[in-house]
Symmetry: C2
Subunit: 307 residues, 2 copies
């Protein structure tokens, strides 16, 4: 329930709900996080993307989004129609996940378009947020949905060609308009999964985040990676570096194989999404993969945000 | 109670408190909201200012700050020591008001330094947030503390001279390092004041915000404005445009004269701050002032943020 709004007040007011609150913020800077000359990237898609990157952070913890605060820094070249398109995308994605746009701030900038959202979500009373910490050796790793599309989309975008097949359009959209796995995160959390992350910085980078601090490693099974079928057909080596960097907005989680199977059934039944076991957590640090029966260390990794 | 932190997770987790939540976000862009060549403006002061502008929004509603999410977009020229100084200022101001830095995001930018904070505060159960709406004709208008210092500081800064007297140093610091009236906002709210705003965009602009939408106006009494004593001595006409634009981080509120007197006594006793009645709310729109017994319309106004 949103009580106040920016028009009248300096801040938004809403009623607190019992339980735990999750807060997150992410910024997109033109030139760093996106380029306005990406073919097909409209301001509406950019607005959707701003929400998606933040919603994906909430999804990874199993939170239900509630309220967003938006701060836009706009170069002078942007028209009011442009800003309206941006907001249209922002509110579309927000509405889709029952998140209110509680308030915001508009600034002029002499620099690149800079978009920030701060999201505030809730954890259902009685459940705990999923965390990056707590994985154990012998547990399995599993990812939601299908991976590789965002990487394929990036390749297509770079070529600058018009997508013709349904697969090509799917890849382009996976890259331009990723959909956060908000419902999936909640279902995983309700199923008792405790360790999860989102792979929007790439599968490799996220596995590293889940395991490195624990001093653990991973053994992946290349044949089990849930690749987009058209990618697997077209690129038999697609599991390698490019896939590891693919910025798909899927979730990865770690738990006992039995817990993952049970969560997977629930996810399939309630949300129609697969949860695929892709490997296991090992005592030995580092990420390796079984490819055609041979062990290979994986060294490439996803895009690491500046920090 | 802050449970998670950015290092491990994509988001921060905290325990909800009963009552109302206030959320606000404000961004500072180099070149628009500040200039890095302002004499005396360090990165530490800039960090404090980022928090202060957001804390002032919470103060205006009578909220107690709780958690902040910080997003910094940094030009390549900034060193790690610079970023540390920024954070030092941010956390100093946060700690002063018992606000945790719950999480954040760092981005690289090819443009100007761009700093965003999103703050979450709570309204004490049983009390309501102060709003900009609801003023009535016949009510009085009152401001906390002393006004005019920020404008005087801006004049000094533009001259580029080194401040020598205590008054000059006070003015410079009012401009460089404004202190949000967080405690005062809570005391006003607890005293039953329902209509308030902060005058960090200037007294004129805020009076307009409080009254224009209600179709009301204000009659100010220039002799009653609580000017800094050294400004009044030095500039007998200081009540005029410059004062109206002074970006002092004080609060203005509207209520019956009796309610304001009672709130003022409480503010003085508990926080040592004066609350000065500066005029009244009129049915007639527009802002006018009584100066030396003559009525004058006021047309100048504070800095209006780009929107």
């Amino acid at each position: 329930l949103l009580i106040g709004a920016r028009e009248d007040d300096d801040a938004a007011v809403w009623k607190a709900e019992p339980g735990l609150v999750v807060g997150t913020t992410d910024t997109m800077v033109e030139g760093t996080d996106f380029r306005s000359d990406w073919p097909g990237l409209t301001l509406r898609l950019l607005g959707r993307r701003l929400m998606s990157i933040n919603l994906s952070d909430l999804a990874a913890m199993g939170a239900q989004p509630r309220h967003a605060l938006i701060s836009l820094c706009l170069p002078g070249a942007l028209s009011m129609a442009d800003v309206t398109e941006l907001y249209r995308g922002i509110s579309e994605r927000a509405q889709q996940f029952e998140c209110t746009i509680a308030g915001g701030d508009l600034s002029a900038t002499t620099g690149p378009l800079t978009l920030t959202a701060a999201l505030y979500g809730v954890i259902r009373p009685g459940t705990r947020p999923m965390r990056r910490l707590g994985a154990r050796p012998g547990w399995a790793l599993a990812v939601t949905g299908v991976i590789g599309r965002a990487a394929a989309g990036r390749v297509w975008r770079r070529r600058g060609q018009t997508p013709r097949t349904p697969a090509e359009r799917r890849w382009i959209m996976a890259q331009l308009d990723p959909a956060p796995r908000v419902e999936a995160g909640q279902i995983l959390s309700e199923s008792g999964i405790r360790v999860a992350g989102d792979i929007s910085d790439g599968l490799y980078r996220e596995i590293e985040r889940l395991l490195e601090r624990e001093g653990l490693g991973a053994m992946l099974d290349a044949d089990r990676l849930p690749l987009d079928a058209d990618i697997r057909r077209g690129h038999p080596d697609a599991w390698s570096s490019r896939l590891m960097e693919s910025e798909d907005y899927e979730l990865i989680c770690a738990a006992s194989p039995a817990a993952l199977r049970s969560a997977g059934q629930r996810l399939k039944r309630r949300y129609g999404l697969t949860l695929t076991i892709i490997g296991e957590v090992t005592r030995e640090p580092g990420i390796r993969a079984r490819v055609d029966g041979r062990l290979r260390p994986i060294t490439s990794h996803g895009y690491e945000h500046f920090r």
